[in-house]
């Protein structure tokens, strides 16, 4: 079936099977930042923004996204720079396979929560699994990022 949606600000029209997920549609559109780490909605790797909210693209039927606005990391390269640098300076990417999903959720969190506490950050990001880091370096990097972001906004 034909599915029209806005992807990273561009109108796209994709021809997908009725049971295709948004994840499949995005990979087919060349959005290679979007990764799949499980089939059971547990890992957070496939996180994208759907109408401004972070969702798991593996659990969204592509058909339902007709008319929606979808943003992937490809569409947020500028906004992601500062966060990426903070993570890189801690070595917090390690294998990097979970990084795009994490970056997408941190950016969503930064829009949704004002000055979150470390505990709120952990809660917001709990659905982003990482097997390499033990999360500590991510905590350090995200705390720095949120501080710099707030200072920049002031």
């Amino acid at each position: 079936m034909r599915i029209e949606l806005t992807l990273n600000g561009q109108r796209v029209c994709a021809d997908m099977p009725a049971d295709a997920t948004l994840y499949e549609l995005l990979r087919a559109q060349g959005m290679k930042s979007v990764k799949c780490g499980c089939e059971t909605t547990n890992c957070g790797l496939c996180t994208v923004h759907l109408n401004g909210r972070p969702v798991l693209s593996c659990s969204q039927l592509a058909a339902r996204c007709a008319g929606a606005e979808v943003v992937t990391l490809e569409g947020l390269q500028d906004e992601a720079q500062l966060l990426a640098q903070c993570l890189a300076d801690e070595g917090a990417e390690q294998c990097g396979f979970c990084s795009p999903g994490l970056v997408m959720n941190v950016l969503a969190m930064a829009h949704e929560l004002r000055s979150p506490t470390p505990e709120q950050v952990d809660r917001y990001l709990a659905g982003n699994l990482c097997r390499c880091t033990g999360y500590m370096s991510q905590r350090r990097a995200i705390a720095k990022y949120l501080k710099m972001r707030e200072e920049g906004a002031r």
Binding site: M1, P17, A18, D19, T21, E39, T40, T41, N42, G44, T47, L50, R53, P54, V55, L56, S59, Q60, L61, A63, R64, N105, A108, M109, R123, Y124, L125, A126, G127, N128
Partner: protein, 258 residues
């Protein structure tokens, strides 16, 4: 799962008509549905019916079937009316991204044993509204056989003096090993126990003479089972603890950390 066709009906009648066919299936959040091994004829997407609302009504709240768990968790009205129990019960479910699309209707309709949502709603004496089946208590709906109907909304009555919610999880975002919700309602104390691991059941509905002995006696009559996460013995042992804690919170009208 495979899906042959996708439909987004604009009226409940249209959705109901479609769901009368055996191979068709209603799709709410699509969080659990997609993991089933089945061939679906038409997936009936309810997102075109305008059911994604949370609104105050008759002193309580009406939750549209397509309202997401995240909406319930962050809703200021629900927070105030039910002592933060929605956030407490729902926030451990997988992650924000998951809860942004998982719906209250999906959780309730599927009647999963592990459902935190159902456990809480049962204690709050929620009523479900079905397109054909009309309104009925959640408790009755849970016991009724699966019907090819459309769940439109869930009504949560107000007036709870205090609500307590305690769940035990092996790890922070896992399914509960056991979940207990207690509400101090005008009719008395109402306690639901979920993830037994079978679906949530009421321990008591209008209890006015609460005591340790009463609790023990009621738990004696409740069935517990075993699964990967724990044995029936363990569930029975901690049910006593969690019920006591949830009731304490409901009576004191406050939430405690553990």
């Amino acid at each position: 799962m495979t899906i042959r066709e996708y439909a987004r009906p604009e009226t409940a009648e249209e959705a109901w008509q479609l769901c009368q066919k055996r191979q068709n299936v209603v799709m709410a959040g699509n969080m659990w549905l997609r993991m089933q091994r089945r061939a679906v004829g038409t997936a009936i997407d309810l997102s075109g019916l305008g059911l994604d609302f949370v609104r105050e009504r008759d002193g309580g709240f009406e939750l549209g079937a397509m309202a997401t768990l995240r909406e319930l968790e962050t809703h200021p009205g629900l927070e105030a009316a039910y002592a933060g129990a929605f956030a407490r019960a729902l926030s451990p479910i997988v992650g924000v991204q998951f809860r942004n699309t998982a719906t209250v209707g999906g959780s309730v309709f599927a009647r999963f044993g592990f459902s935190d949502v159902a456990t809480l709603l049962l204690a709050l004496d929620a009523r479900v509204r079905l397109y054909k089946g009309g309104e009925m208590p959640l408790e009755a709906f849970q016991r009724a056989p699966f019907a090819r109907d459309i769940l439109l909304s869930v009504f949560v009555p107000g007036g709870a003096q205090g609500v307590g919610y305690h769940a035990m999880r092996r790890s922070a975002t896992d399914f509960p090993v056991l979940a207990v919700a207690a509400a101090q309602t005008p009719g008395g104390l109402r306690v639901a126990v979920g993830a037994r691991p079978a679906r949530a059941q009421l321990l008591c509905a209008q209890e006015r003479e609460w005591s340790d002995a009463r609790r023990a006696e009621q738990l004696q009559g409740m069935a517990f089972g075993s699964n990967m996460r724990a044995t029936a013995d363990y569930r029975r042992a901690i049910a006593d603890v969690l019920v006591r804690r949830a009731v304490r919170d409901a009576m004191e009208g406050k939430q405690d950390a553990d």
